[in-house]
Amino acid sequence: MHKQKKYIVSHAPFWHDGSRLTTKNYHIMLAVLIALAAGIVKYGVPAVGVIALSVSTAIFWELIMNKITSRTATIGNGNAALTGLLFAMMLPPTMPWWAVVTGTFVCVIIGKEIFGGLGGNPFNPVLIGMAILMIAWKDLFDFDQALINYDFDYLVLYPLAALKHFGISSIESLSAIDLLSGKQTGAIGTTFGFGLILGGVYLIIRGFVRWEISVSYLLGIFVTAFIFKSADSATYAGPVIHLFSGYTLFGAFFLATEDSSSPVNFIPMLIYGAAIGIMTILIRNIGVYVDGTVFAILLINLANPIIDKIRPKAMGRAV
């Protein structure tokens, strides 16, 4: 047998545009930095603690699961870290350590790994963690309660909870600018609206998240809230409050756009976003939960495979 040089052989194509999962995940992390920094400034050391714990345990759980299923370690692609980071941003800074650890466990293992890892998950892993924690330890998510020891120079109020429990009169004083600049109570990373919008727009421009989903989501919120407001302005808050409080902006840019649980075709993306928006307002206005974002996205995640069946006819297809 004569010796020959061995070449790398594969089927076409031989070019790749260089896009990587890893790049995407790290850029999303980059995009939340401003909002995250605002949260850390606002809440101080406890927030840093929660974030660090969340990110590290998320990576840890993924590594454990990789070992158990004897697959190559996937923590390098940054997805576990991203999951941990997004999860931490949705928590109040006072979250006890055991709740954070349980939460990341649920996110990474139940939410993602048991479905075969990234790409197999039919639901947004972060939201599964959030939802299960919210059901299990409701009290921990009472932001007003949680932040009682903080001293801020503005009205310490979680707008959506106030709306739910004390009626619209209690939040009339809040302006859009106040809300966007973070003068509201809320989770670590979700109160600084400017930061979130900036990050979201960056991601959209870079193509890491789809504008269709974010825009239709925000539109859905706006329109539904507007309809409610016009129907009964004494009971229901206007679109501005809904858009800029709670997890709305965070959800629009970082949660609803999670690849695996969202549609890929144009029209389905619009439907998907709008449906989440509508559902969010429905829960906030007539449901039991203070902030409907988590459950609304989960619910529409569920409908994603059905919605995504609306797709253009492929070339040459007979029917």
Partner: protein, 191 residues
């Protein structure tokens, strides 16, 4: 009218028979592997549940109640439902083979489906009127079908995902169903 709509929404979403009341789980897991099967099953349940709701309500109102035989509810309902389903199956098979192929084959599965039996018992327990019974039966069935179809959509994808071996099939199906049940929490308190 408004009450009826509220009742319907309540039965479809809030008190979804599968995910909130835990009725009809065996076929839920069994028939949700393919979208086609799920759709067929959903249709069949709608059909049977409305019929069964009506007939059990009639049995209860005109025979069991007047004669104080309420303790025979279980046995009479199951007999009536089983006979009804079997009758419908035979009827469809003979007269409408096309419909039978799409829907009739699921009928035997429904005989022992606790969703049907359970919904009928709930109707009686909640003291619904005849019209309410029809609406609630229909809505329960729609709720069942909705959950089943949504689940099938998700499950079709899960079947193709790289689920770890011990979790495959039923195990992951149950966990997904749990998450779906959780997603249905979104409707809590809406009525």
């Amino acid at each position: 009218m408004g009450d009826y709509i509220v009742l319907a929404i309540s039965c479809i979403f809030v008190n979804n028979i599968l995910l909130a009341q835990f009725l009809g789980n065996c076929p839920f897991l069994g028939t949700s592997k393919k979208m086609e099967t799920a759709t067929g099953m959903a249709m069949a349940v709608v059909f049977v549940l409305v019929l069964a709701g009506i007939i059990t309500w009639l049995t209860n109102a005109f025979i069991l109640k007047p004669f104080n035989l309420e303790y025979l509810r279980t046995i009479s309902f199951i007999l009536v439902i089983a006979s009804l389903v079997q009758f419908v199956e035979m009827f469809l098979k003979k007269s409408m083979p096309a419909l039978y192929a799409g829907l009739g084959i699921f009928l035997p599965l429904i005989t022992t489906n606790c969703a049907v039996m359970g919904a009928c018992l709930i109707n009686i327990k909640e003291d619904y009127t005849f019209i309410e019974t029809v609406i609630s039966s229909f809505s329960y069935a729609v709720g069942f079908g909705l959950a089943l179809i949504l689940f099938a959509g998700v499950r079709e994808r899960i079947l193709l995902a790289r689920v770890p071996k011990p979790l495959q099939d039923t195990s992951i199906g149950l966990i997904t169903a749990g998450i779906i049940a959780m997603a249905f929490f979104a409707f809590k308190g809406m009525v």
